[in-house]
Amino acid sequence: MVQQTEAIAPDTQHEAPPEVVKSLRDHGALPQWRLMWRQFRRHRLALIGLIVLIPIYFMAVFAGFFAPSSADTAHTALPYAPPQRVHISAEHGMFVYGYSSTRNQETFEQTFTVDKSKIVDVGWFVRGDEYSVVGPIKSNIHLIGPTKAGEAFFLVGADQSGRDLLSRLIHGARVSLSIGLVGVFASFLLGMLIGGISGYVGGRVDNIIQRIIEFIMSVPTLPLWMALSAALPGSWGPLTRYFAITVILSLIGWTGLARDVRGRFLSLREEDFVMAARLDGVGRTGIIFGHMVPSFASHIIASISMAVPRMILAETSLSFLGLGLQPPAVSWGVLLEGAQNIRAVATAPWLLTPGLAVVVVVLAMNFVGDGLRDAADPYK
C-alpha cells in the first residue's frame, strides 16, 4: 500500500508531463484521508448510516433538552398508558388528548381510553424538569413538552410505573451509545498492545499469545459474562458499575482486534520500507509508531468501528438479563428488562421500542463499519 504511494508520488528531480501531474493531483497526490473519504462517500449505505447516527449521538449528548421530561418523572396513576398522538387545531394549537382510565372489575386490568374532553397543550421550548446541560450549568427548557409542566405527555407510551418511555429512551441512549465507545477504547488498548507485541516480537511469544487468544475465543462468551458480572458487588453505584461492565466486556472483546493488529504487523514487518528504516538506524519504537502504525491505522479504525455495535449488543443483553446496569441507571437494555414479561408486552407493545432503537443504531453502525472497511484501502 505504502509502496504504491511512493511509486506514484510526484518525482521532484524530473519534470513530469503536465497531464500526468494533473492525474496525480487527482489521485495519488491527495492525502490518504481525502482518498478514504472519497471512497467512503461512494458507499451509499455507509453514508446513510452516518446520517442516521450523527443526530442520534447529538440527541444523546443533549438528552436533557431533547427528552420531554426527566428519566424518573413518574405518573403513578398511568402505568402502561398508550402512546398519544399530537393533534393540531386552529383553536388549541398543538395538543394531545388526556387519558381516562377504567379498571375492569373482573380482571382488575386497567384500560385507557382517549378522553377528548381533556386537552393537554403542547409547545416547543417549554419549561419542565430541571436537568444539567454541562456540569453545573442547569436548564429546564425542553424541545417539546406540555406547556403546563407536570402533565402526562407520552409520545411513545408509558412504562409500568407511568414514566415517559420516550424520555427514558433518550436518556438511556447516553449509556447505551457511550458504553460501546468506552468499551472499544479499552479493548483497543489491550488489543493494540498485545497484538502488537505478538506480531512484532513473533516466535515463541507470538505462539503463546495466539494460544491464549484461541482459548478466550473458544469459551461461550455469554455464560462467562454472566458469571463475571454476577461477581460485581450489588452495593456499587451506577457509575462504578458502568465502568466495571465496560471492563468485563472489553476483557473478552479485545481478542479480535489483537488478531487484526498482529496480522498487519506480521505482513508489514517484511516490507521494504520497514527494512529501510531499520537500516537507517531508527529505533524499535520509532519504527513501530513512526512507520508501521500509520500505515495500518485505517484498517484498525475499520475493525474498531465493527466492534462498537457488538459491544452495544453485549451491554443490552447483559442488562436485559438483569446482570448489567441496574435501575435507577437507564440504558436500553435496562428498559428492555421491563419487556421480559410477555404479558406486559402484549398489553403494552411499545415497551419494545428500546429494542427498535438498538436495531437501528447497530444496523447504522454496521453499515458505517462496512464503508470504512472498504475505504481503509483507497488505493485498491
Binding site: S218, P220, P223, L224, M226, G355, V358
Partner: protein, 332 residues
C-alpha cells in the same frame, strides 16, 4: 494425521484445564460466598443465624479451606468420579440438576448449527454467483438486519406475535400434556414442533454472518485463473462451479464451527431465558444471581468443554475435507 490428532488432543486437555481454572477463579471473585446469600435470605425473613451455624455451613461446603485446595478438591471429583459438586441452593448434586438441561442445550445448539448451514450456504453461494442482483442485495440486507437484531429481541417479538395473533404461548419446549410424561414418540414429535422457533431465533445471527463469509470466499475463488481454465476447456458451467470454486468456498462449513458454536451457545442461553426453555440458560441465570458457585462453574465448564470438543472435531473434518490443510498438517 495421527500426530496431528494427538497434538490437538493434548492442546485440548490444556485448554480444558485452563477453562476449569478460570471458571473457578471467576466464581470465587464475588465478595462473600454462598453463606452470604444464606445470611441475606435469613435476614430478609427476619431471622438471625448464629455465627457457629455459619461456621458449620462453611465447613460443610469446604469454604473455609484455601482457594487452591478448594479448586483441586472440585476438579479431582470432576475428573475421577464425574462428581461436579453440590448445588448449595438446590441441595442436590449438580450432575443430577443439569444433566437433562445441558443435553437439551446441546440439542438446540447443534440443531441451530445445522439450520445455519442449511440456510446460509445456498444463499451465500447464490449471492456470490449473482453478485449485485436483486437477490444478492436482498440477502445482504437481511444479513445486516440479522446481525443487528439481538437474539432476545427476536425471541420477544416471536412470542409477542404468537401470543397476540395465534393466541398460544410459544415458550417452553413441551405442551403441558407432555411436560412430565416419560419419553415416547408423541413427546418427541411434540418437542420437534416446539423446537423450531428457538432454533430459528438462535440461528439468525449466525446465518447472517455465514452468508457474508461464504459469499466473500466464493467471490475470491470465482476470479481465480483455474476457473477461467476450466471454462476455456468447455466444462459445463454448473459442473465447473460445483466441482471447483464452490468446493473451495465450503471450507468455512467446518472452520467456522470454532466461532459459530460459542455464539450459538451464548444465544441459546439468553433465548432460553426469554422463552423459558428447560435448557441450561434459566438455571444458569438463577445460579449466577445467587452465586451458587459449583452450579455456575459446572455450567461454564461443561458448555466450554463441549464447545472445545466441537471445535476440535470441526478441525479434523476440515483436514479431511481440504487437501491443502491436510498436507500442511502432515508436514507440521
Amino acid at each position: 494425521m495421527l500426530r496431528f490428532v494427538a497434538r490437538r488432543l493434548v492442546w485440548m486437555v490444556i485448554t480444558l484445564a485452563a477453562i476449569s481454572f478460570v471458571t473457578f477463579v471467576v466464581i470465587k471473585l464475588p465478595p462473600g460466598d454462598y453463606t452470604t446469600t444464606v445470611i441475606a435470605n435469613a435476614e430478609a425473613r427476619g431471622q438471625d443465624i448464629p455465627d457457629s451455624q455459619i461456621a458449620e455451613l462453611k465447613r460443610h461446603y469446604g469454604l473455609d479451606k484455601p482457594f487452591l485446595v478448594q479448586y483441586f478438591t472440585w476438579i479431582k471429583g470432576v475428573v475421577l468420579h464425574g462428581d461436579l459438586g453440590q448445588s448449595f441452593a438446590w441441595n442436590q448434586s449438580v450432575a443430577s440438576l443439569i444433566g437433562n438441561r445441558v443435553l437439551l442445550s446441546m440439542v438446540l445448539s447443534i440443531a441451530s448449527l445445522l439450520f445455519v448451514w442449511a440456510i446460509a450456504f445456498p444463499i451465500g453461494i447464490y449471492s456470490a454467483l449473482k453478485q449485485y442482483s436483486g437477490g444478492d442485495y436482498l440477502a445482504s440486507f437481511l444479513g445486516f438486519i440479522g446481525m443487528a437484531v439481538p437474539e432476545f429481541m427476536l425471541a420477544l417479538v416471536m412470542m409477542y406475535i404468537g401470543f397476540r395473533y395465534f393466541g398460544q404461548s410459544v415458550g417452553g419446549l413441551f405442551s403441558p400434556e407432555y411436560a412430565d410424561a416419560a419419553w415416547n414418540l408423541g413427546k418427541l414429535l411434540d418437542l420437534i414442533s416446539h423446537l423450531w422457533v428457538p432454533i430459528v431465533v438462535v440461528g439468525v445471527a449466525g446465518t447472517a454472518g455465514l452468508i457474508r463469509i461464504t459469499r466473500a470466499n466464493l467471490l475470491d475463488e470465482l476470479h481465480k485463473p483455474y476457473v477461467a481454465t476450466a471454462r476455456a476447456k468447455g466444462l459445463p458451467e454448473w459442473k465447473l462451479l460445483l466441482k471447483y470454486p464452490v468446493r473451495m468456498s465450503l471450507s468455512p462449513f467446518f472452520s467456522t464451527v470454532g466461532w459459530l458454536l460459542p455464539g450459538l451457545i451464548s444465544g441459546e442461553t439468553i433465548v432460553s431465558v426469554v422463552m423459558s426453555l428447560p435448557t441450561s440458560g434459566p438455571l444458569l441465570l438463577g445460579a449466577v444471581k445467587s452465586q451458587d458457585m459449583y452450579l455456575v462453574g459446572s455450567f461454564v465448564l461443561i458448555l466450554s468443554t463441549l464447545t472445545v470438543i466441537g471445535t476440535m472435531l470441526s478441525d479434523l473434518a476440515l483436514a479431511w475435507w481440504d487437501p491443502r490443510i491436510r498436507t500442511r498438517f502432515q508436514k507440521g
